[in-house]
Structure formats: structure tokens, C-alpha cells
């Protein structure tokens, strides 16, 4: 009975993570992170994802503040977006990364309206990927708690 439950959870996990790739929330870099998790570093993915959440929230606050100023310092805005692009790229948060690429272009053009629009978009994408990753981690923890191992996904698409 327990094995059937674990099997079901593992299938659910694989279906879920596959959907995240198909919908573009994650890219291959996330699989690289999972590859780095081993007995010497058993919580690596959770650790990195948590750092990503902390840093992203700080950067999004900084961006909101910077774009709310009368005289916008676009270099500062660009620096924040560059950091967010770097961290999202490092964990494979593809949609957030792509938003940042567009955002940086508008910073270069000093286009306030488009920058504000990009900020909303990147906040939205961050919220989406945060929810998805939290769900994914919860599924992993349920599998481990039930005595199973986290299945690995082959990235072939």
C-alpha cells in the first residue's frame, strides 16, 4: 500500500515538474541544480531556491522604490534588473529571466512606461514561479516523508 502511495506521489511529481518545463517556468538549469544535490549537500535545491526568493523580493522592492522616484536613476534600475536576471538564470527561472532581458532593454532606452510595465510583469512571473517551486518542494518533501526517493527527470524537450 505504501509503495503504491509513493509511486503515485512520484508520478504526480514527475507530471508536475514536466509541466513546469513545458510551460516555460523552468529551464534546464534547474535540472543542473538537482544534479548538484547529493549526500554531501542534501538540501542544496531548497537552499538555493530560498536564496532566490529572498534576493528576488529584496530586488523587486528596490526596483519599485527606484522607479517611484521623481528623477529615475536608470543605471541603478538596470543594476537591480541585472542582478535579478543573474539569480533567476542561475536557478533556471526562465520566464523571470526573459522578463529581465526585456526590462534591461527598456532601461537602456530610459523608457519609463515600458519599465513600469516590465516591473509589473516580472513581479507577476516571480509570483507564479515562487508558487510553482513551493509546490514542487512540497511534493518532494511528501515523497521523502513517505520513504520514497525523488525521481529524476530526463530533459529531452
Amino acid at each position: 500500500m505504501q509503495n503504491m502511495e509513493v509511486d503515485q506521489m512520484q508520478r504526480q511529481y514527475l507530471d508536475y515538474i514536466k509541466s513546469l518545463f513545458l510551460e516555460g517556468f523552468l529551464d534546464g538549469q534547474f535540472l543542473q541544480l538537482q544534479q548538484l544535490q547529493d549526500e554531501n549537500n542534501p538540501d542544496f535545491v531548497v537552499e538555493v531556491v530560498s536564496l532566490f526568493f529572498e534576493d528576488s523580493e529584496r530586488l523587486l522592492n528596490d526596483l519599485t522604490f527606484a522607479l517611484d522616484q521623481k528623477g529615475i536613476d536608470f543605471k541603478k534600475v538596470d543594476a537591480h534588473v541585472h542582478q535579478l536576471k543573474g539569480s533567476s538564470s542561475s536557478i533556471g527561472a526562465q520566464r523571470v529571466k526573459n522578463c529581465c532581458i526585456a526590462f534591461r532593454n527598456f532601461c537602456e532606452e530610459q523608457n519609463i512606461d515600458e519599465c513600469l510595465s516590465c516591473l509589473q510583469q516580472v513581479k507577476q512571473e516571480y509570483c507564479h514561479v515562487k508558487n510553482k517551486l513551493e509546490t514542487l518542494i512540497r511534493l518532494e518533501q511528501q515523497i521523502v516523508a513517505a520513504g520514497g526517493s525523488i525521481p529524476t527527470m530526463e530533459f529531452s524537450f
Binding site: Q32, L36, N41, S89
Partner: protein, 144 residues
């Protein structure tokens, strides 16, 4: 040694190198990197945007070890595929440049090549394509 300003990138790169069996020291700033780097470090990986932004740190590392027979290799980690970035890095005396993203397999190959040849400047895909075309044109002229 890994000097990356971005905390997430720094943690991932550290994890990657440790997974490959390396002992890793991290630094979040140029000042910290310069203070901590020693002959125990075989390679210093540093984040670079244009190449020029890493020049001061590279110069100061070279200066720190100028009187020694050996020194850590200095390698830029960048997502910038522009040829000028590579040229800037070479000009300031760096030993290599690697394009992000870096997979486990890629880093394994990079470390192997770096420690053997003491130099590695990765070519971007677009640069490879241009070089292939130039070589093919050159060959045509040679044949003629």
C-alpha cells in the same frame, strides 16, 4: 575561489565546484577576494560583464603574486558573448573566459583543460560560426 556578487549565482557555482570535488572559497566583493586569495587557490572564477569591470581585480591579483613563481589562474564567468568582452579579458591578463550557463559536464571539462593548458578562452556559438565561415573562405583562396 569564486568571486560572484550575486548570492544565488555564487551558491550555485560553489555547489557545482564542490560536486566536482573542489575545495571552494567564496567572496562577494573584489575587496574580499583580494584579501582572501592565496596560493592555495588554483583558480579564481570572477563575474564579469564587459571584461573591463574585472580588470582592476585581475590586475591587483597579478600584482599580489608578481614576486611568486606561481599564482592562481584568473577566469572570467560571463553571460556576455560579445567578442569585445573576451578581448578585454585577454588584454587585462586573465587566463580564461567561460560563458554561462555552466553545466556540471562543462565545468568538468573546463577545469581539466584549464589545469592542463593554463589557459581557456571559450568561443561563443556565433563567434564559432563566423570563424568557420572565415576558415572556409580562407581555404578556398588557398586552393586557388
Amino acid at each position: 575561489m569564486v568571486k560572484l556578487v550575486c548570492r544565488v549565482s555564487r551558491t550555485v557555482t560553489k555547489g557545482l565546484l564542490m560536486h566536482l570535488g573542489c575545495d571552494v572559497t567564496t567572496a562577494s566583493s573584489s575587496e574580499e577576494c583580494l584579501r582572501v586569495v592565496s596560493l592555495d587557490h588554483e583558480v579564481v572564477f570572477m563575474d564579469v560583464c564587459t571584461g573591463l569591470d574585472g580588470s582592476e581585480l585581475a590586475a591587483r591579483i597579478l600584482e599580489k603574486f608578481a614576486k611568486h613563481q606561481d599564482r592562481p589562474l584568473i577566469v572570467a564567468l560571463t553571460g556576455n558573448t560579445k567578442r569585445v568582452t573576451k578581448e578585454n579579458c585577454m588584454r587585462v591578463g586573465m587566463d580564461g573566459l567561460i560563458l554561462k550557463p555552466v553545466s556540471v559536464e562543462k565545468m568538468r571539462g573546463v577545469l581539466s583543460e584549464l589545469l592542463e593548458r593554463r589557459v581557456l578562452f571559450e568561443t561563443s556559438e556565433s563567434e564559432s560560426r563566423v570563424l568557420k565561415v572565415l576558415n572556409s573562405v580562407r581555404c578556398q583562396f588557398d586552393v586557388k
